[in-house]
């Protein structure tokens, strides 16, 4: 194998179902470099890297190694050319040892007693890069940082010259992240090159030599890190000088519907996902939560909607505490929920549209009488929703999975809004939808605001947040980096706040920011 002196991606385009994930992207990296790939979620970073790794084939464009075009059709080809990738979600077998995990993909391993051979080599390579890993430990016994080292080892075993790391620090503690950077420095000083996907500016500034910024599938900027500052990067990433738009009807804030006090919620991995949050949402208000996903948004929403236990703190709806009530009770009290990953949580794909139109409400009047469901009532209700929310469906008697994503989401929005909830919680409501459906859903949320409901909107889409929110809280590692409202001079710095580089103290729920 030859060294990768330079690797170039030229004019890469890739579309999914007519939607461009990558459009004419150029990127270049040389030996010994760390290239940062910066962009919001959905900017096309992962798609681009999956192309480089051979998981996707580009529609057009080429990849050049040392100036010569190479064809990468599968991960095998990319591994053969010296490219390794460390996925954000580790591809490790939890019940196997480190050595077993490494042995699987490593072609030179002997057939018999592979672990013996691997063990020796692990010691050698890990010493070289300062990673201490016990080859006989099971993966589940390792911390996230150690697991990541195993992934790095896997790539090094295959003699990867160029390593793609997809948000490598998202699962690490600060200490582990520092260790990782030490390893990266050792690797690059030995001639390896690294592409680091990230949306943490500090990281990019700290470890990268150069940075390429993507937005909406296109390259929007390229720079040497020494020539640029965080502010400029944040603006590049977010896309423009930002301001809250005033298209929506200005409304005086109504009474308080939701009051969250010192809420602490733990995540699945036992981490403190929501760290002592306090805020309020009012009627006639859309309260947005901005931030890169994985910073506690999911846990916060689950705690409010009764799907996850809060470990301390209080959640008050109007005047009653709903802390740690069941999902059904919370729903009955007046909180409805448009969940993230709509197909996974929000619908039952094989059941009919009308059966999905009453999910969560099926147990209550008027759909349920005694123990029976009133299907006439249910169907009438469904027809109403289908008509009122412009859902394109051949009939309500078809499984909901035959609808398009946009129509499924309209159904969910309709279902959740129809009961005129005191508070609507919407998580990433327009994620992955086309423009038409997106606009429609946003309009519905604004309608709810005008009707007097409160809305808690979790989104990664800044454009969306600016368009419909009255106030935006920026969440990072389970804490608010600030609560912004229209006219706040700090709005331009939202990119810095999302990436954990800036924290501004605002008065509790920004009470001073009356619109």
């Amino acid at each position: 194998m030859h060294r990768i002196e330079t690797l170039e991606m030229k004019g890469i385009s890739k579309s999914f179902h007519g939607f461009y994930a990558n459009k004419n992207i150029n990127l270049k990296i040389s030996s010994g470099e760390v290239l940062g790939l910066l962009g919001e979620n959905g900017a096309g970073k992962t798609t681009l890297m999956n192309i480089l790794y051979g998981l996707y084939r580009p529609d057009s464009g080429e990849i050049l190694i040392n100036g010569k075009a190479v064809r990468i059709k599968s991960p095998k080809d990319s591994m053969g050319s010296g490219i390794g990738m460390i996925h954000q979600h580790f591809m490790l077998v939890q019940n196997h040892t480190v050595a077993e995990n490494i042995a699987l993909g490593f072609t030179d391993v002997p057939f018999f007693f592979p672990e013996k051979y691997i063990r020796k080599k692990i010691h050698r390579i890990s010493a070289q890069f300062g990673m201490e890993i016990d080859p006989d430990k099971k993966i589940w016994q390792l911390s996230a940082g150690e697991q990541q080292k195993v992934e790095i080892l896997k790539a090094l075993f295959l003699e990867a010259e160029l390593l793609i790391m997809d948000e490598p620090t998202s699962v690490l503690t600060p200490q582990e992240a520092d260790d990782l950077f030490d390893i990266i420095r050792k690797m690059t000083s030995g001639g390896h090159s690294i592409i680091l996907i990230s949306h943490k500016l500090d990281e990019i500034m700290g470890i990268c030599n150069r940075v390429t910024v993507l937005r909406k599938g296109e390259t929007v900027g390229e720079a040497f890190v020494r020539d640029i500052d965080k502010k400029e990067l944040a603006i590049m990433m977010v896309g423009r000088e930002v301001f809250l738009s005033f298209d929506k009807k200005p409304l005086p804030r109504g009474e308080m519907v939701l009051n969250v006090k010192d809420l602490v919620v733990y995540g699945d991995r036992g981490n403190k996902a929501v760290n002592s949050l306090s805020f309020s949402v009012y009627r006639n208000e859309v309260f947005g939560i901005a931030g890169v996903s994985g910073n506690g948004q999911r846990e916060l929403v689950e705690a409010i909607t009764g799907l996850r236990k809060a470990s301390s703190g209080e959640i008050i709806l109007e005047d009653d505490s709903i802390t740690n009530e069941s999902a059904r009770v919370v729903n009955t009290r007046g909180i409805t929920h448009v969940p993230e990953e709509r197909i996974r949580f929000g619908i039952v794909p094989n059941l009919f549209i009308y059966e999905n139109a009453i999910l969560k409400k099926h147990h209550s009047h008027p759909f349920s009488r005694l123990l029976f469901l009133d299907y006439d009532m249910i169907k009438e209700h469904t027809e109403n929703i289908v008509e009122r929310y412009n859902i394109a469906a051949p009939s309500i008697n078809v499984p909901v999975k035959s609808l398009s994503g946009g129509n499924i989401q309209k159904l969910i929005i309709g279902r959740e809004i129809e009961s005129k909830p005191a508070l609507l919680v919407a998580s990433h409501p327009t994620y992955g939808l086309d423009i038409g459906a997106t606009e429609y859903i946003r309009k519905q949320i604004l309608n709810r605001r005008e009707e007097g409901g409160g809305v808690l909107l979790v989104s990664e889409d800044l454009e969306e947040l600016f368009e419909i929110c009255d106030r935006i809280a920026v969440i990072f590692k389970g804490q608010f980096m600030g609560v912004l409202s229209a006219g706040d001079s700090n709005i331009k710095d939202i990119g810095l706040m999302m990436t954990g580089s800036l924290k501004i103290e605002t008065e509790q729920d920004g009470a001073s920011d009356e619109v």
């Binding site: 799907l307 996974r344 949580f345 059941l351 059966e355």
Partner: protein
Amino acid sequence: MKYRIDIAPRSGISGWYSAVIVLISLAAGLLAIGFIFLIKGVNPFYAIARIFSGSFGSFYGFKETVTKAIPLILIAGGLTVAYRGKFWNIGAESQLLAGAAAATWIALRWGGLLPGGTVIFLMFAGGFIGGALWGIIPAILRVRFGINEVISTLMLNYVGAEFIKMLVIGPWKGKTQFGFPYTDDFPDNAILSVLPGSRIHTITLILAVLAVVFLFFLIFRTRFGYEVRVIGENQEAAKYAGIDFVKTTVLMMMISGGLAGIAGVGEVAGIHHHLTYPESISSGYGFTAIIVAWLARLNPLLVIISGLFFAGILVGGDAIQISLNLPAATVDVFNGIILVFLIMGEYFQRNSISLIRKGE
């Protein structure tokens, strides 16, 4: 000209399409069965015709078919509920025995003492409860300890069967049965009346039909049925919708086990009139019912038809055993092949497969 086969998940299928696939699967299954007969040197047309004439062709045969359909319909009906909730109960065999044992105890203990109607009622109630309790065990093992229900129901089948054997050769062994492993015969008022000239125990037949009608409404018209289906189709959405997984799972296994228990009551009180070895009482109804439920596409009303169909195969199997000198296991060939073809047919239901001309 080059073609390639394009396979894509299908979204939404019509009932007609589904029915056609089931019929084609059945036909293909029969073809395969015929092929096996052919290898055995038996004229396949004759053998298959003989099976169906044996079970549906004569009045006597049909009466037997109905008799055997009773437990199949009851059990398969119950299975439709559990399977709709994706709870793979394969323990109906021992849930049937639990019901049979409960009924036996009531019959022998109270049979002579209480009026006939009361005894019969108590036996059915007791049978339901017996089967339900035995059925709840795997449900609890699953929701509390995460134990796979396939394994636990399978294990409990054998535990239950051995326990019944223990009873009938031990403490419950009849004093008037000349050393056979039977309990004493039930007193007359604990025996179910039959249609004259047949072994069809009418009450159980009526209960079976009522049960599947009830189940149909339960599954498609009630809150509980709705919750079962949501759990079965998407457990995450069920959680989101605030559905109580533990309660619903336990309830559906109560129903599934309880109906198998009622089938057990019918067998001991309608056919045997005593409790005896498990293999005599059930002859694999608990397993055959799985195919019955599958063939009915987990629709309780269709269970009546598929139950009769498989009861017919059981009876027809007996018929060819005698007339063609084939072993009893021939029925298993039928059941096995039909089941294999049914699950293969499902592939075509889930996916649309088309031949596309290659145009690169």
